[in-house]
């Protein structure tokens, strides 16, 4: 028997006829609901990302740049005021 002959002998044939077992209907329903919810969440997220190409670009580039600019301005203002206070006390 070659490797591709499949279950051709008696032992494997007996194995094929073993009774199928399953989880309880309640368990099956609960698992199905969880999977459906997850699938729908994923599908919604994918649709949102596809519908707002500019939104993703905003999140990736513009928002970090805006944040960085604000931080730099804040830092410069602190330095300027510190310098002004230092010069004022001299």
């Amino acid at each position: 028997m070659s490797v591709d002959d499949g279950p051709s002998n008696d032992t494997l044939a007996a194995l094929a006829s073993l009774t199928t077992c399953d989880v309880s209907r309640r368990h099956a329903r609960r698992l199905r609901s969880r999977c459906h919810a997850l699938l729908q969440r994923q599908a919604t997220a994918n649709r949102s990302a596809a519908a707002m190409p500019h939104g993703s670009a905003f999140r990736r580039m513009f928002a970090p740049a805006l944040g960085a600019a604000w931080c730099v301005a804040y830092l410069l203002e602190i330095v300027r005021r510190a310098a002004a206070a230092f010069v004022g006390t001299e």
């Binding site: 591709d4 007996a14 009774t19 077992c21 399953d22 309880s24 209907r25 199905r32 599908a43």
Partner: protein, 206 residues
């Protein structure tokens, strides 16, 4: 736990139908998920149950297997074979759980865990329906090592081709062929050694 009354018929999913289902799954179609779930849930559960011989663990691993399918659905390739994919995940989860020493298997060769949880002992009707040969094969199968059990279940019970089973087990086709051959011989020997119910009754009577 429900126990299906009919014999499972080996109906490998049509390839075109499978491609279609994979495409719908990737798109997040719950209807496609239901089709796959109905077809494979009992098969994956039976595989895990017979492999682990632990109902609670088998149920947990079944849940995780399906959740992984859903999480991975958008990344499935169009030519994904759903059956082998599910059995690979289920098998890997089982071996991972075993490695983490989370598995405490019963040493008893009986497969009582295969019977409904609400009724710890099979009814006479269940016993009669299960059939003598099935009982002996179940008992013999449960005495084999896990490596032998998994190849026998995948090829002999689930109808995977040896090539698919080799992929699921992460071994070469040649290694699988050898393992399957040894497992089959061992199973046949154990089935012969397993006493029939008639012999057991005779033993009790004397």
């Amino acid at each position: 736990v429900s126990r299906l009354t009919g014999w499972r018929v080996m109906t490998p999913m049509d390839r075109d139908c499978e491609r279609l289902l994979v495409g719908r799954l990737r798109a997040g179609d719950t209807g496609a998920f239901d089709d796959v779930y109905q077809e494979y849930r009992p098969r994956v559960f039976g595989f895990l149950l017979r492999l682990s011989r632990n109902r609670t663990l088998a149920e947990d691993l079944l849940d995780e297997t399906w959740l992984r399918l859903v999480r991975h659905a958008p990344r499935l390739t169009p030519d994904t074979r759903i059956g082998p994919w599910l059995f690979t995940v289920a098998r890997n989860l089982y071996w991972s759980a075993r490695r983490d020493s989370l598995v405490e298997e019963t040493s008893a060769p009986e497969l009582l865990t295969l019977w409904p949880a609400s009724a710890p002992w099979p009814s006479p009707f269940d016993l009669a329906a299960a059939g003598e040969l099935e009982r002996r094969v179940e008992v013999a199968l449960s005495t084999l090592s896990r490596q032998y059990r998994e190849v026998l279940l995948l090829v002999g019970h689930e109808g995977l081709t040896p090539r698919e089973a080799a992929l699921v087990c992460g071994i070469s086709s040649e290694a699988l062929r050898q393992r399957l051959s040894r497992a089959r011989a061992l199973l046949a020997a154990r089935v012969r050694q397993t006493p029939a119910i008639a012999e057991l009754k005779k033993g009790y009577a004397t």
